[in-house]
């Protein structure tokens, strides 16, 4: 009973220790990304929702034409998300009723510590030196864990394709960047709502703009730290980012940091479980062996005692029998003597 209790406590303690959220490695290092990494700044104060960025993206990436034409502004009356044939979309919001609508452009944020790259079990996503998060469809298995992992719900999937479905998302026009060109959407924007440059330059520009227009902008650059920081950063007019559909509950912890604890437990289990389980097996065997030996010893002792008892009883009985026999003989002799004596006396009288 005690053995099992001990083992259960041991087991639970071992698992608890190994599987606790860990600080293994993740928090010890600070990473700033590659120094020349680029990004894009989107300013919702300047954006007019013309969808020219969507049209340019569609053209540059040779995506299929959507059901409603790309200059149809009525689609803005519904809230959309990225799709297999739309790497980027613009949504319309009314943060202050009665006032002009505000627009948000949605596309892959090319995170500093991309959740998709962390999640992909075949290493199909890579954060390149340019800053773009690049997808390799030649190894993708189609497990769609990247879609589960992305906090911004960006990757889309070609569910309509039977044998060659791909994950679809903004590429930051990596091929164009390598040719020295601007991303398609940035080039097409008529209002300079999209600005391309080095990420750290863009951060400075964003904060300068906030300072130069007091009371106009929300005093926050979205993407500066969210999920560990993104290459695509945003400015929004007051009242808030939340009013434009931005998720303000994401926190600053990146995806790799979120899973590093669980991953750290893996080698611990591999290293320690053999020790624990082998040890328990050895202890179990030893206890069984000792129990066997004790049992054998007890049986032997019982047998020995039984035969000793039996022998003692036998000799006792024998002794008793001998005594009884002797007495019987004595009694018989005495009787015979008395009888003889009586006869002798009786003979004398006659």
């Amino acid at each position: 009973m005690r053995r099992r209790q001990f083992l259960k406590i041991l087991g639970l303690g071992g698992v608890a220790g190994a599987a606790l959220p860990g600080t293994a490695g993740a928090a010890r290092f600070a990473y700033d990304g590659s120094p020349d990494a680029v990004g894009v700044l989107h300013d919702s104060v300047r954006c007019i929702g013309c969808r020219k960025c969507e049209a340019a993206c569609n053209k540059v990436n040779e995506l299929p034409k959507p059901a409603k034409p790309l200059d149809d502004l009525s689609v803005l009356d519904t809230t959309r998300r990225t799709h297999a044939d739309a790497y980027t979309i613009v949504n319309k919001y009314f943060p202050e009723p009665g006032k002009n609508p505000v627009f948000r452009k949605i596309q892959c944020n090319h995170c500093m510590e991309p959740a998709c790259a962390s999640a992909c079990f075949v290493h199909a996503f890579k954060k390149s030196e340019t800053g773009a998060v690049v997808y390799d469809p030649t190894v993708c298995v189609g497990c769609r864990y990247c879609m589960v992992a992305c906090p911004f719900n960006i990757p889309a999937y070609e569910y309509h394709k039977a044998l060659t479905p791909r994950v679809m998302k903004c590429t930051l026009c990596q091929p164009r960047l390598l040719e020295g060109k601007l991303p398609g959407c940035v080039e097409a924007c008529p209002k300079e709502a999209l600005q391309y440059g080095k990420r750290r330059d863009l951060l400075n520009i964003a904060w300068d703009r906030i300072g130069a227009n007091p009371g106009r902008y929300v005093e926050h650059v979205y993407g500066e730290r969210e999920m560990g920081g993104t290459s695509w950063i945003y400015l929004a007019p007051k009242p808030s980012f939340a009013a434009l559909g931005f998720d303000e509950h994401l926190g600053d912890t990146s995806a790799p940091e979120l899973t590093s604890g669980a991953l750290a437990a893996v080698p611990a289990v591999a290293g320690v479980w053999p020790v624990l389980l082998g040890g328990i097996y050895a202890i179990t065997k030893r206890k069984e062996k000792i129990a066997e030996e004790e049992k054998k010893a007890a049986v032997d002792a019982a047998i020995a005692k039984a035969s000793a008892d039996a022998e003692a009883k036998l000799s006792e009985e024998l002794a008793k029998a001998e005594v009884a026999n002797k007495r019987r003989i004595e009694v018989e002799v005495k009787k015979a003597l008395e009888a003889a004596h009586k006869e002798a006396e009786g003979g004398e009288d006659a």
């Binding site: 009973m1 209790q5 004790e294 049992k295 007890a298």
Partner: protein, 44 residues
Amino acid sequence: MFNTLQDLLLHNKSVTYVIMAVVLLCFVGFWHFLTDKEERKRRY
């Protein structure tokens, strides 16, 4: 209201310690509940 992570964690972990103690006592009680009716095995 917690203004710092430190405040939040202090509160959370304090509550947790108390519950841990209660849990351990409950485990002892549960063990007795499970094994009350067992006949004591004779070990030779």
